[in-house]
Every structure is written in structure tokens, then in C-alpha cells.
């Protein structure tokens, strides 16, 4: 029997949602600082409007809760709060972007905000090369906040000691705690991110100055932005030409380092930090990633050879391998122009990229897609089944896998991995069907759909301001589902349905 939610449930959800929205709004102080630094007056007003809108919404929601009321936070509350919070952050994050006048409609700004928060990287911005620094910084900051997790931000800033932090944390598609306590886990995620931020931004800024030839101020700005987009496997870039703008293999190499580092499980980062570096070699995710990356590179190589896209090995490495790494880590940086993929790459190379985008990288990282842990588990399950047929019936076949510790493969694990994998495949296909419905050919529709649902951001040119509004909404929903890995969004839908059908 489905229970109809009560007023108490709504007040509890509103209270948490209010805190998250408030914490999110407070982050708009950072782009205001950037605007002041670059002497941009109008963006200061735009972001103040955005900040005030978020603070007002947050306070309004919090005022709905009764201060004296003590309620127990159930899983359903956590899940509903997370799914709703991501939508609320999208709507509020889009406000200063829309006010800048660089997006054709509020829907376009919402698309870009969700693309940033979900670390996807598909863009609808117009005249990006003349965008204010503050707004450009905000686009990349959205990736940093979304990558670490909007909830992790809120837990760190406002939802500190109250109950419900764990439910919120899990709702954001993070089922692995790094440390026993969620607050400590959130702190660790920020510590790791800030240390890498300093190192990565310095590396990219230095490359921007010395290898690309940008002036120091631009090099530092691009370094900071690209680190946030690269480490959080997002894929936004400050210039319209994406990575092509920099025209430097040294810079591309630096972004590869950042992308791969960001695609690693935070638990593995913790293992590396605590001196257990051998885990990098033994972990099932890293091994699966290497195997699938090899497969993707071979497919891309065959495809590029078939279509005669590049005449030299260096061309293949700088364009082909770079795109493969970008797709597999779920980043979406492009060292080729989007229309080139369809026009000159050939279908086989695109299939390689599709495979990479669909599979994704590590669980408990900022990447999207099916994820290597699930792919590894399903591959091991297949192997176990084949082994069972080949051995005597009296033999008990067991499979062990290494993910932070030794684990024996069981049916529940395989079922859970297979279900999520199936859900992702259906999501990719649903988006492709929507693309076909709007008149695009199947391959480009599937490519863009997989990119959106897998939170990758590579584009073959379909995503642009003039595409149908319906398709923009489809991609927003796909990015939302993909980032939260279905469960919390389905719980939110179920929660809304229970208003009508519950007793």
C-alpha cells in the first residue's frame, strides 16, 4: 500500500531543500568576486540578483518548516530532497546566465546550468568569446560544485550536524562512503579537490602561459576554469573553439592528466593519499578502464584509418586518442570541431566514441555513464558462468574481485549492476528515439543522447541554440537522470504519484 505524504513530510523536505538552495546561492559570491577583479560592473548586478533570488527561495522554504518540530529523516525524504534540489539549483543557477544576454532563452540558460551541474559540457551559449569573465567562471564553477556534489556542498556548509546527511549523500549517486562519517567524507572530498585544484590550476596556467602564449592574467583564468571543467570531467571551456583554441599539444597533454585524474574513484584517491598506491594497479575499476580504453582506441584507430581522417601517427594521437580519453573519462573536451566528427571521422570511429561515452569511468568520481565497476562486475559474472559450464557440477565456482578490498561476487551485486546498466542503455536509446522524432539521423541522435545521458559533453554538432525546444528538455531530463543514477529521480516521481494514489 502506498502512503500519501503528510504535511510533516513536506515541511521536512522543504526545510532541507531550503538549506541546500541557500548554500548554493552563497556560492554566487565567488563570481561576484571575479567580476570585481576584472572590472565588470553589469555581471555584479546579474549575480547579486541571482544570489538574492536563491537566498529568498531558501529562506521561504526554510520558513515553511516549524523550528520546534523534530522529525525522523527517512530514505524517501533524502531522495526527494536530492532530486528536487538539483532542479532548484538548475533554475537558480540559470538566472545570472540568462541576465547576461548570452543565452537565447531562459530554457537555454537552464540547459547550460544543468549541463554544468551534471558535469556534461553540452553548450547552448551564444558568442562565448565575448562572455563576461564572471559568467564564464560561473559556468565552470557549476561543474566544480556539481562534480563534487550539490549535496556535498550543502553538507559542508549548512546541513552539518543534523540528521539526514547520510540519506542526502546516498541520494546523490554516492553509495560509497570514503570515511565512516558522511561529514568527514564531505570534508575529505573538499580537501582532495582543493589540493588538486591548486596543483592542476597551476599546471594548466603555466602551460597556458609558456606553451600556448596567453598573457599571464588570461593564462591563470583559463587554468582555473579548465581545471574545474577537467577534474570534474565536465568539458566546458572558456572559448568557443574548445581545446582547439590553444593549438598546443603540451596543453592538451596537461588536460589529459587532469581528465584521467578526475575520472578516478575518490576512494582510490584516499588510498593513494594514505600510501596504498598498489591499489591503483589491483583495483577492478582501473583494470577494466584500461581494457575498455584499449578497445576504444583500437576502434577509433580502425575508424580513422578507414575514413583517411589523418595522414600521420601524431594526428591520430592528438585528435583520435585525445577524443577517446575525453569520451571515456566523461569530460567532453574536443581537440576537433564538432561537425568534423560526422563529416570526416566515419561511423566506426564514432561507434568507438559512443562506447566510451556510454561506459563512463569510475564510480564515486565525477564521471557519468554506466561506470567501470558495474562493467567489471558484469564481465566477471559472465566469466563465472562460463567457468561453471566448463567445470564439474560438484565444483563450487566463486569469483573474487578487488575493489578497495577483496569481495566475493554475489547475485545481488550482479543484479544491481545489470539493472543500472540496462537503465542507462534504455536512457541512451530513449534520447536517440527523441532525436529521430525531431528529424535527426539515428547515429547523430544516438551520439548526442549518449553524450547527454552519460554526462560527457562531446557533440557532433546537433546541440546548438537553434535545435528544437522539446529536444533541449529531453536532454535536460537525461542529464538529470544520468547524474543522479535514476533512483532519487524515480523516488521523486513516485512521491508525486503517491499524492494522487496514496491512502
Amino acid at each position: 500500500m502506498i502512503l500519501r505524504p503528510q504535511a510533516r513530510d513536506l515541511r521536512l523536505i522543504a526545510s532541507f531543500l531550503g538549506k541546500i538552495v541557500l548554500a548554493f546561492g552563497m556560492t554566487m559570491v565567488l563570481p561576484i568576486g571575479v567580476a570585481v577583479l576584472f572590472g565588470e560592473r553589469v555581471p555584479v548586478i546579474d549575480f547579486t540578483v541571482g544570489l538574492l533570488a536563491a537566498v529568498c527561495c531558501g529562506l521561504l522554504l526554510m520558513s515553511l518548516a516549524r523550528p520546534a518540530e523534530k522529525a525522523e529523516v527517512a530514505w524517501v525524504h533524502g531522495m526527494v530532497v536530492v532530486a528536487a534540489a538539483w532542479l532548484a539549483c538548475m533554475f537558480l543557477g540559470a538566472v545570472p546566465m540568462y541576465l547576461s544576454g548570452h543565452w537565447g532563452s531562459y530554457l537555454d540558460a537552464c540547459f547550460e546550468a544543468m549541463s554544468g551541474l551534471a558535469t556534461t559540457g553540452l553548450v547552448l551559449v551564444q558568442d562565448l568569446d565575448h562572455l563576461p569573465h564572471a559568467v564564464n567562471f560561473w559556468r565552470h564553477l557549476l561543474m566544480f560544485l556539481g562534480g563534487q556534489g550539490v549535496i556535498v556542498v550543502a553538507i559542508s556548509l549548512l546541513v552539518r550536524h543534523g540528521p539526514g546527511a547520510f540519506q542526502l549523500y546516498v541520494g546523490e549517486a554516492r553509495d560509497e562512503k570514503i570515511l565512516p562519517n558522511v561529514i568527514e567524507t564531505a570534508k575529505f572530498i573538499w580537501l582532495v579537490s582543493f589540493v588538486y585544484f591548486v596543483l592542476g590550476a597551476t599546471l594548466l596556467s603555466a602551460c597556458g602561459r609558456f606553451a600556448v602564449g596567453l598573457p599571464w592574467r588570461d593564462a591563470a583564468f583559463h587554468g582555473v576554469c579548465l581545471f574545474m571543467a577537467g577534474f570534474d570531467t565536465g568539458g566546458f571551456t572558456p572559448q568557443s573553439q574548445n581545446i582547439v583554441f590553444y593549438q598546443s599539444w603540451v596543453f592538451e597533454l596537461a588536460t589529459v592528466v587532469v581528465m584521467v585524474w578526475g575520472a578516478i574513484n575518490f576512494n582510490l584517491h584516499y588510498a593513494i593519499w594514505t600510501g596504498r598506491r598498489a591499489e591503483l594497479r589491483r583495483d577492478i575499476e582501473v583494470r577494466t578502464f584500461l581494457a575498455t580504453m584499449t578497445l576504444v582506441v583500437v576502434l577509433v584507430a580502425l575508424g580513422l584509418a578507414q575514413s583517411h581522417a589523418y595522414s600521420g601517427a601524431w594526428g591520430f594521437v592528438r585528435r583520435g586518442v585525445y577524443q577517446a580519453v575525453s569520451a571515456h573519462t566523461g569530460t567532453g573536451f574536443q581537440s576537433v570541431y564538432a561537425p568534423e566528427l560526422l563529416a570526416t571521422w566515419g561511423p566506426l570511429a564514432l561507434v568507438g566514441l559512443l562506447l566510451a561515452m556510454g561506459l563512463g569511468a569510475s564510480a564515486c568520481s565525477t564521471t557519468g555513464g554506466i561506470k567501470m565497476l558495474r562493467v567489471g562486475i558484469i564481465a566477471k559474472a559472465f566469466r563465472e558462468d562460463v567457468k561453471r559450464f566448463l567445470t564439474s557440477e560438484s565444483v563450487v565456482v566463486t569469483t573474487r574481485l578487488r575493489h578497495l578490498r577483496d569481495v566475493f561476487l554475489d547475485d545481488r551485486m550482479v543484479r544491481s549492476a545489470a539493472l543500472i546498466m540496462l537503465a542507462y542503455i534504455l536512457l541512451y536509446l530513449a534520447g536517440a528515439a527523441a532525436g529521430c522524432l525531431f528529424g535527426y539521423d539515428f547515429l547523430s541522435a544516438l551520439f548526442e543522447s549518449t553524450s547527454a545521458a552519460g554526462n560527457v559533453g562531446l557533440s557532433c554538432g546537433l546541440t546548438q541554440p537553434l535545435m528544437p525546444a522539446g529536444l533541449k528538455v529531453v536532454y535536460i531530463v537525461q542529464m538529470w537522470f544520468g547524474r543522479l543514477e535514476f533512483v532519487s529521480v524515480f523516488v521523486l516521481i513516485g512521491f508525486l504519484v503517491s499524492f494522487l494514489r496514496g491512502k
Binding site: I45, S63, L99, D129, Q239, F245, V297, Y310, S311
Partner: protein, 186 residues
Amino acid sequence: MKNRPLFVIGLFCCALAAAPPAWSAVTAGELVAAAPLAAQPPGAGGPVSAEELIAGAREYDGRLVVFEGEVIRAVLPRGDHAWVNLHDGTAAVGVWVPLAATAEVRYAGQYKVRGDWVRVRGVFHRACPEHQGALDIHAEEFTVVAAGGPVAEHLGGGKVFALAVLLGALLCLLTFNLLNRKRARR
């Protein structure tokens, strides 16, 4: 050496991509033959747009083209040459040009700055062999046809109004919350 298989696969892929196999429908020789060098781009003698160049890269490959666009962000020096990214309103393309020719460039486009408008005549490459497969133009002539300059910021009245309304709403909410808390304490 534990990583030998991966190393071998890497070498194999490089070789494969660099030397197109014979099973493919179109051979490299046919492609070269299909794109003879021409004095004029397919779209007559006027400037060709970046969008056309990118979408029709195979047709324009190796041809002499005329392209116009705004200098974006900065001139990126590389020894005695430089990269200049030009945006013509449809997309941006990288232009490889002798460094001395860029001396005329004073403004590069960014927020509050309109970059110099430049006209380039040069050879278009779909996958430049000199720049590891980059889509670029090697300029033979590089002329600034219109100077850029600073652009003033414009603050619309609507934004100030929205700011005032939100400030009022915030004050009301803060007062309401304060009263609510006092009542709850009592």
C-alpha cells in the same frame, strides 16, 4: 615489462591510423586526386565562412581561400610564427601566420573589447600535416581591415528593478523568520 601488450597495441593503432588499409572504400590516392589545388574556393572569389570551411572541409582541403574574422582573445606566438584565432560570426578557425604580420593587431575580442577584423588569404587544411591534423589556414596575406576597440557595458533598467524587488522580499522574509523564531521560543 608488464605493460608490453598495451605498448604494442598503442604502436599498432598509430601505425593503423597513419597508414590507411586497402579494404577501405576510398584510398588515400583517390582522395588526393579528388582535391586538386585551385586558385579560387568553390564559393567564387569572396570570403568563405568558418561554418562552410568546417562542414565542407574535404572539399576545401588544400585550396587557397579568403577568410575574414575577428581576432579572438590573443595572438599566440610560436617562434617566428603565431596562431591567430579568427571568428567570423559563425565559428572560429585557427590561422597560422608569420609573427611579423600580426604586428598590426591591436585589439583581440573578449568581454568589453571588439577585436580587430582581419582578412586572410591562405591555404586551408582539413588535417594539417605540419600541425598534427589541425584544421587550419596557413596565411599568405594577413590584413587588418577594420580596427576593433573597447565596448561600453550596458546596464538595463529591468535588472535594477529586479534587484530592488528582491531586496524588499529578502527584508520581509528575514523579519518573518525572526518573528517566527521568537514565537517558537515563547
